[in-house]
């Protein structure tokens, strides 16, 4: 039974891209510096019986693998980094040095490699991290006659609980089929695990579409984050599609014809995921354009406010300034006779009002400031 879901600590995203073995290391160098052993689970099933237990020593797994019963043994390792364990696993399952490197040194690009005795599939599970974003985690699936080995990057969560449940309940035909079908079921769960994420990204996208033209808060960061999450998914799903296609076309006897039919279905699903990711990417690009035009429109609104204020108050100030001049009427009849007019003050107020209204009418005529600008925006 998997441990409860913990909120993951936020690593800087660029670390997700880096491989740490120093350049010029010999091939097959394992990055194994952890001192905690991974958690290990075994499910051993035949059509009639299911045994499921957490093991603490690989010897227990060997018992299941080498017993005489025609059962399928699924060994699930959660957490990488413990040297002793993985070197032992390499010997038990006779894994090629380069294949073991691919299992242990994360991240690898998803791929499927055929070896004489088994197939190795490197895939990538996508999961929601605690705070609305996406994180991906490597899973290696090694399958051969009668056994499946899965190695997950981290120990806390996975998308395979449904597969385990089907084995326990004997739902579908999973208990009657071979290890290739189990490997397919795990891979299918990995690919189908993208759909809930895409649904959530679709919601974020749609929320942003509604919010962008209305909100006054800067939204470009959120759009950028969304785009990065889509890019993360894209990097995970593109090679995964090729991987499934490779398995489909592989002529190895380890994969039965019936399983191929089911893999075809997984292939269709991975194409559908890719299709949705690309569509969402186009939509989020359009969203950035939408946002930029919204920002420009708001700028226009602000400028119009400023222009209207200036249009109203600058003429008033100028005219008031004129009649505030101190030319002395004693010196000349030309010196501001208006100041002595009987209706001088009302006349000056009318002059102010007239200038403002005149300007506004003039703008309107010119089409500079339309109906919309003043009233309806």
């Amino acid at each position: 039974m998997p441990p409860p879901v913990k909120k993951k600590k936020k690593r800087p995203w660029h670390q997700r891209f880096t491989r740490e073995p120093p350049p010029a290391s010999p091939p097959g160098t394992l990055l194994l510096e952890s001192t905690t052993k991974p958690r290990m689970f075994v499910i051993d099933y035949s059509p009639e019986v299911v045994v499921e237990k957490e093991i603490h020593d690989l010897d227990e797994a060997i018992e299941f693998l080498t017993d005489d019963r025609p059962s399928i043994t699924w060994v699930d390792i959660r957490g990488i980094g413990h040297r002793e364990t993985f070197e032992r696993i390499g010997r038990i399952f006779k894994i090629h040095a380069l294949a073991l490197e691919d299992i242990v040194n994360v991240p690898q690009r998803p791929k499927a490699d055929a070896y004489p005795d088994h197939h190795l599939v490197i895939a990538r599970m996508a999961q929601s991290n605690g705070n609305g974003g996406i994180c991906t985690e490597q899973i290696a699936i090694l399958f051969g006659p009668g056994f499946v080995l899965t190695v997950q990057e981290e120990s806390d969560r996975d998308v395979m609980e449904g597969v385990r449940e089907r084995i326990r309940r004997g739902g579908g035909s999973i208990r009657t089929r071979g290890s290739d079908y189990l490997a397919y079921a795990v891979l299918d769960a990995v690919v189908d695990g993208f759909f809930p994420l895409l649904e959530r990204l679709g919601e974020r996208l749609e929320d942003l579409e509604l919010e962008v033209p209305r909100s006054r808060r800067p939204m470009s960061r959120q759009i950028h984050d969304l785009k990065r999450d889509l890019l993360t998914l894209r990097r995970a799903i593109w090679p995964q599609r090729d991987l499934v296609n490779n398995l489909l076309r592989d002529e190895s006897p380890l994969i039965t014809k019936e399983t191929r039919i089911f893999l075809r279905d997984t292939y269709d699903h991975s194409v559908q995921v890719m299709d949705m990711v690309e569509t969402f990417r186009e939509l989020s690009s359009g969203l950035m354009d939408l946002y930029l035009s919204t920002v420009s429109n708001r700028m226009n609104e602000i400028m119009k406010v400023l222009t209207i204020i200036s249009t109203i108050f600058l003429p008033i100030t100028a005219i008031a300034g004129i009649y505030g001049m101190n030319f002395r009427h004693e010196s000349s009849p030309f010196n501001m006779p208006e100041l002595d007019w009987y209706y001088g003050y009302p006349y000056s107020l009318m002059l102010m009002l007239g200038s403002v209204v005149g300007l506004l009418i003039y703008y309107r005529r010119k089409g500079w400031l339309g109906r919309d600008d003043l009233d309806e925006e």
Copy 2:
């Protein structure tokens, strides 16, 4: 007879992308939680006779399918989600579990799969929703010797009324050909159903082209919506083209050589739809550029208004301010002797006028404010 067209309730668009079966479900899991039975129609025709009726029990369909007459039976199911009905359909038509999943769990990516006894085509009808946008709906076409089964996602509207009418009237040669021809006719109706939508999108595009440089209302949202509708069509038509191509190249005896000639025509039409969708997408991208440059131009206009107002009134205010200072002429002959000049007031007004005109002439000379800016914009 199809029910009258109802205005569809607006679902959030992102739901159109999501598949709901939880990850790691066994393959072939059907999402069937509806309790209302779908509407079911049967048309059974031979060159001489046409029988058309709505049925309420699949037994009625079985009668048509198993009678001895060499007629073509078209069973049309409208509405998905009723478990009992679809499980029964699966048994009647001997549909593979994965195929039935594709029929029932919408949305699927359009595709054509060949099975030993029948072909399954998953296609996507595009229709106008009530309020000017686009909605798409899945249609599954299963055809084999003597029968065609179509399963539509929703019960209210479809694009196949024309096909039914041709069967009823015996127009063209439809009644004399096999079930593959009927399947072609349905598929052709689906593809041709994109043309009226494209016509309407073309109108919206052309309206926007005319409106964008003139209107003062924000238009970026409308352009964005148009782009999203085009994206929706694109997602529907691209795989549809491949689907038709697959049928064309399929060497199954279920598709006659004559029908292939007609499918070639459908292929041409789907290429033409794709071509138009891509052209419209380019035009709508250009439209966003056009809109952004219009917004920038309007900003320039507003700024010019502001600058001209400032140029007119700030110098007047400044000069008026100077002659409004209270330096006392009693204290010094230098203290504002202008206030006592005989033509002091007219001189000050001239000074104001001169500054303003001088500035405007200066700008004009510099080319800062051209003829256009003042008069002709």
Copy 3:
């Protein structure tokens, strides 16, 4: 002899994209609702003799087609839509229903289809419309042993006058070769007809390049129109290239080896047209960027004018305002003693001048307003 060139009425461009037969029509439905008969011309030539006449009844064409002389008969129909005529043509030339639909229901995507007795080429002529834009018109070329049938969408203009002239004059070897050579000559004229248009688009593009950085008028609309015209050409030429390539590779005996050499030349020309269209498209995209940056630059200029005006007049107004305050010097020796200074007024003017000059120098030092801004822009 073709009728004089008339200025075409402007249809909304989106109609150029639409096919009007309702979805689900039977295949081969002809859109023929016109009541005016098309104009029909026949040129019948052998190395020695040329007969050219306008005919009013298809019977006249049949005479030419069925006479015993080894001549080539070119029937040229101008204008589509007259049901009776086209149904008769279909019977005379034994045209497949789907092929006749392609000829009559415009627009079709350009393509070449091989039939047992003849080849059908659907091409698209591009022509300048009266007012500087581009319009395209469909032409169908059907050729078989001893005859060529061309059907043009409209009756008024075409690009084939040069071909007719060569037949009349016996220029080149056209009169000594077969109907496939005539079909090539027509197709070559169609492709070469793109060059004068591209030349004119190139001129528009170059004019815009020169005008955009100088003009103060909004130019984005013109750039957008140019882009749309280029898109129109692109939609016409891309499938045309494939069409010529298909003819080249077709192993039909209807096309002689010598004609293939000439078709190779047509292919090169269509590649060259495509190449130029793509180059022009890139240039016009760059032009939009150029325009947007010009608009932004002009905005900067306007803002600088406003800033300089404010910098000059706001300090003057503020200082004048201070010395326009009415603090009474009778009440206190602190109350504006400047008003009684002997050089009070000159001092205040100096203060104003000093503030303005000081500010301008400060800006200059800060690099906010460089030499360019004040003097050389």
Copy 4:
């Protein structure tokens, strides 16, 4: 010896794209309306002897071509358009009418065509025009056993002087190899001629990168010109790469296995040119973005200046305006008692100072105007 380099007159660039033969001309129509004969040069060499001379009559060339010595004859024609000369050349070298059209009617898209007796290569030399831009010129290379004919579009400059020099000096092995090697050497000189141009474009690009963030002059035009020059190079080099590839794969006995090894080298160089052109194109696109963001940043700076000026002087003006009001203190003790205060004037000045400083502090707190804005920009 080539004539001295003359500064070329600037033709409008769009003419470089146009072909002038009217549509529907017979194939093989030559555009030959010039009355000045081209300059003609012959170099005839064998391992021992080199003869080099300018000829004025093609008969002189025929002598070299038909002499018994096993020498290679290189005829170099500079300038196209003289009908008599080129018709004679067509007859001498037995050139197919369509091939002669390609040689004479410039511009053609670069290509390599194999004929029974010779190969024709149409290539494009790129050269710097006098004023920093790029111009391209067509060169046709026709080679067969014992001869090479080159036809250059213009008479004044070429990139082949180095090849001539190698023949004269006997440098490398050029004199001991066949005509295919000479053709390779010319083609290699054409491709290598792109490198100095790319170097100069790289300099312009780097200069612009340094200047764009600093300069106050509009730079978008220069970036646009650079992009156009890169587009010109791209149009020239893309088909040239295919051309070299075609020669490489051609199984004609006219090209020896050793020459193919050298052509492989030319192919590598043309790929390298393409690679650099594409890289430069990406960089120049980024440059436009850089420029636009620089313009926006400068706008922000100007707006900040304006805001700070307004913040300083508007409050002063407002307060000074208040104490410049003429409310009569005789009428009421409420009417501006400040005017009689002992420290009234200093108080008002403090009020002004306080408002300004208060506003600036407030902005700073709000983060509207940071440290950078006031001091460090």
Copy 5:
């Protein structure tokens, strides 16, 4: 032992693209004008013994190459340009003139060429230059039976120290395998050398992502530099992937089947590098959009400040101006009776306050200035 790492002088980046041999040079022309001899190192190893020394004369290398022991001799040349040395190397290793040109005339596009006696691989090492950017350096790897020759462009740094260390320590199986394995090990070190650089670029990218929305400094230059560095890496890694693929598919007996398995691993790594470079490129494009929207948002903020200042002080100034007019109340009871009101001054102050508050409320109602604008930004 390699010399200590020196900080490299900054060359203009465009020089990295240029090849300097003048066009029309004979093929195989070497650009060798340096007078300082390169540093030369030899490592000669067999499973039992390792000899490592710096040599000063190629004769010493010849001894190692021609001794009878079945050892692998690795000659490492650091620095190119010394004519005598490289001509001698060409003779010793029997290098084809064109191959030697590729080794010496940097930069070449990475590629792998097979020769009868050896393979030549031209690769590109990417390294951090001293100041945070990227520089690349050519390395040529020539390997044949029993020897590997590497030629590095510069003498100071390389990525192969780890390989030397593995030879010295006998780590992994390197000492027991052939020269093809050593060549693989060098190539693998070159490809793996991209990972630390990508890690650093990822850090820069993530730093910029955090800084862009916050910082007030112009950042477009830094984004542009990042994009250029990514472009540099892209130009280096794309052809490198093809190169590895070519080696993989090469059927030469010089490459053993086991080495091919390891090359497959190198291929996977180069695909992973490409994948990361493309992802980073997309992210940095998005970053520029993010930056531009940040700049626009700041402009909006500044404009809002200006508008609010104007809204507050312009009405005050206008009203104060009105009551500062000098209309004489002696002349008329209409002339500014307010000046004599008992509460005239307070009334005028209220009027000012009322205008300002009224305007602000009006804006708020209109939605022009929301809550965010005034308080929360």
